[in-house]
């Protein structure tokens, strides 16, 4: 594919993505409209003067029409201004940029573990479908999907942190300041997060491999005398990579959600504790900021995956 058509493809995807991004910001903003009653009073808290409520109304532009409020908020957000926390008074962008690295470290590590463990399991299971190993992987898959991640996290803490003392039970360290220590702290949370990921990756790569290996062209490859090993490793796995790309996008979305609960178990100062405390304390600017950050990450990564798709797999229509 030439550079020019690649560029055209990227531009086309960006244009297609635009309405989803705009809608997502609208959802985040409109969330505040779900609050029952007068938002200004809710924001101000109980027992404040009329004057303070009026002040809040002006401060948040609540006296203006809804769409104008939205336009204003969006304009600020694009310039990197997400208002200030109602509880701490800190700029929301500040709190997020301080906490996002902790969350991203766990999620990236969990994604890595899911792929590194899940793919070999899926391959092993697909080699002899119906075998004991296949059955084992299938049971593991069902368990991984039904297991509450935060419960697994608690079990891990009980065994590996409290009993064996191999890993710290709570907290996080900065990857830039103390990389090894940061990984040490992130290991247990990442494992807890990866359990469902491993299950998903193993399941999907197994079924994708089985499908490819029973396809017409693989039969042709066999017929022309290509050895089984070459068929499997060269042609089978190549086709599975496309499926894995899809699963990867799915997992990023799911893990950014699941990490919220896992972070609570390990008392990690990440995006999770930020949004949970904000939601309980009715700190809406912070809730909106975290939601916006997460949805932008998900949409951005999916855009990237979409583009990679078309580059990997010429069968995918570039339209």
């Amino acid at each position: 594919m030439s550079t020019r058509s690649t560029l055209r493809l990227v531009l086309r995807r960006l244009v297609q993505m635009a309405p989803v991004v705009v809608l997502a910001t609208f959802v985040v903003f409109a969330l505040v409209q779900l609050i029952p009653g007068d938002i200004a009073i809710t924001l101000a808290g109980e027992g404040v003067s009329e004057q303070r409520i009026a002040e809040i109304r002006r401060l948040y532009g609540l006296d203006r029409p809804f769409l104008l409020q939205y336009a204003h908020w969006l304009g600020d957000a694009v310039q990197g201004n997400l208002s200030v926390s109602l509880l701490s008074g800190e700029a929301v962008v500040e709190s997020i940029s301080r906490r996002l690295p902790n969350t991203l470290l766990i999620v990236s590590l969990a994604l890595l573990i899911s792929m590194v463990v899940g793919i070999p399991l899926g391959i092993a299971a697909s080699v002899r479908p119906g075998s004991r190993l296949d059955g084992f992987v299938s049971v593991l898959g069902s368990l991984g999907i039904a297991l509450p991640g935060f419960w697994l996290a608690m079990l891990l803490v009980a065994v590996f942190a409290m009993k064996l003392n191999w890993f710290p039970a709570t907290g996080a360290k900065s990857l830039t300041e103390a990389p090894l220590s940061a990984l040490h702290y992130a290991t247990l949370p990442a494992i807890a997060l990866a359990a469902s990921g491993i299950a998903e990756v193993a399941r999907q790569s197994r079924s994708a491999l089985l499908e490819v290996m029973s396809s017409q062209y693989v039969r042709t490859l066999h017929a022309k005398g290509l050895p089984q090993r070459l068929v499997f490793w060269k042609h089978g796995l190549k086709n599975v990579s496309v499926t894995l790309l899809t699963v990867f996008g799915l997992l990023v979305n799911r893990m950014l959600g699941a990490t919220v609960v896992i972070e609570a178990v390990f008392a990690i100062p990440g995006m999770g504790s930020l949004i949970v405390n904000a939601a309980t304390g009715k700190d809406y600017p912070v809730v909106q900021g975290v939601m916006l950050t997460m949805v932008v990450i998900v949409i951005g990564l999916n855009l990237l995956i979409d583009i990679l798709y078309t580059l990997f797999d010429p069968r995918v229509d570039a339209r």
Partner: protein
């Protein structure tokens, strides 16, 4: 359960084409197919027992779920307290049993909300097409871009903390999944010959949708709803664990885990029972859903 039942008026009314190669559907045929699978029949049995326990909770639980016994705090398992007591001296077994109706009702509420919103929107989008479909599809794409728990937390934060609100939030978050599925099914079914035939006989839009499209698009939806019950159960546990769902002293399984977490260093065994209950129930819903998928899809049946 004879073969005559196949040509009953209801079969004709739903317009299902009769394929001579397919074995004729029978009453309870679905149930039979599901039960033929050992795992699925175990899952079904487990869920029925759980439902019975949940309904009979006030009568069978040996103790009150909320009465505190300061003399027996964090007691180990005993004949008096089968699963021990929690940090306030409340009987864990009784709380577990009383938590069952709460936890199950929460899951059903969330899936109910998701169905009430997602089903009609998906049907209309698929049936009407055009700008309406375009708009609904973009909204679905957008909502599915949010990590589910994060969106649920955001909505719960706005609606106010509590079990009902948090489950409505989870329902809202699940609705796009169902809507997308129903839309896809509707797109397939509305091109079927029998829908054209009904239209030629003068059936209106409402009748077409309700009598001809919905019944034939509904099977994958039932599968998805079963799977969503498991997802809702896990979401309830997560949100209650975070303190956004059920409020004390009510005993949902997630809330029990939240308490167990606080006393983990002294009494790690507190976390076993509620966690196992959540795991088994989610596993049962998932197993049942997968079995239904296989039973309803003739191409998978004989694998």
């Amino acid at each position: 359960m004879t073969h005559e039942a196949t040509s009953s008026p209801t079969m004709l009314a739903t317009g299902r084409p009769s394929d001579p190669k397919m074995p004729p559907p029978r009453r309870f045929a679905l149930l039979r197919l599901v039960v033929r699978n050992t795992g699925a029949s175990m899952a079904l049995a487990y869920l029925l027992v759980l439902l019975a326990l949940a309904l009979a909770a006030p009568w069978i639980a040996p103790h009150s779920p909320t009465v505190q016994d300061p003399a027996a705090v964090l007691a180990p398992m005993s004949a008096e307290h089968w699963l021990g007591t929690d940090d306030l001296g409340r009987d864990v077994f009784s709380r577990l049993i009383h938590g069952a109706p709460l936890t199950l009702a929460a899951s059903f509420l969330a899936v109910g909300v998701a169905t009430v919103i997602g089903l009609p929107l998906g049907l209309l989008a698929g049936f009407l097409g055009g700008w309406f479909d375009e708009a609904i599809s973009r909204v679905i794409d957008t909502l599915l871009s949010f990590p589910a728990i994060v969106l649920a937390i955001g909505v719960t934060g706005a609606l106010g903390v509590g079990l009902t609100n948090s489950m409505i939030a989870v329902g809202l978050v699940f609705a796009p999944t169902l809507a997308r599925l129903v839309r896809g099914q509707t797109l397939i079914v509305r091109r079927e010959l029998y829908v054209d035939a009904a239209r030629c006989f003068g059936a209106g839009r409402t009748r077409l949708i309700l009598r001809h499209i919905l019944p034939n698009a509904v099977q994958p939806v039932i599968v998805q709803m079963t799977l969503l019950l498991a997802a809702a159960l896990l979401a309830e546990a997560s949100l209650s664990f975070l303190g956004l769902g059920v409020q004390p002293p009510q005993p949902s399984w997630g809330a029990m885990l939240a308490r167990a977490y606080q006393y983990m260093e002294i009494a790690p065994e507190q976390m076993y029972a509620p966690g196992i209950a959540i795991l088994l129930t989610a596993l049962a819903f998932n197993t049942l859903g997968e079995a239904l998928r296989v039973a309803l899809d003739p191409t998978l049946r004989h694998r």
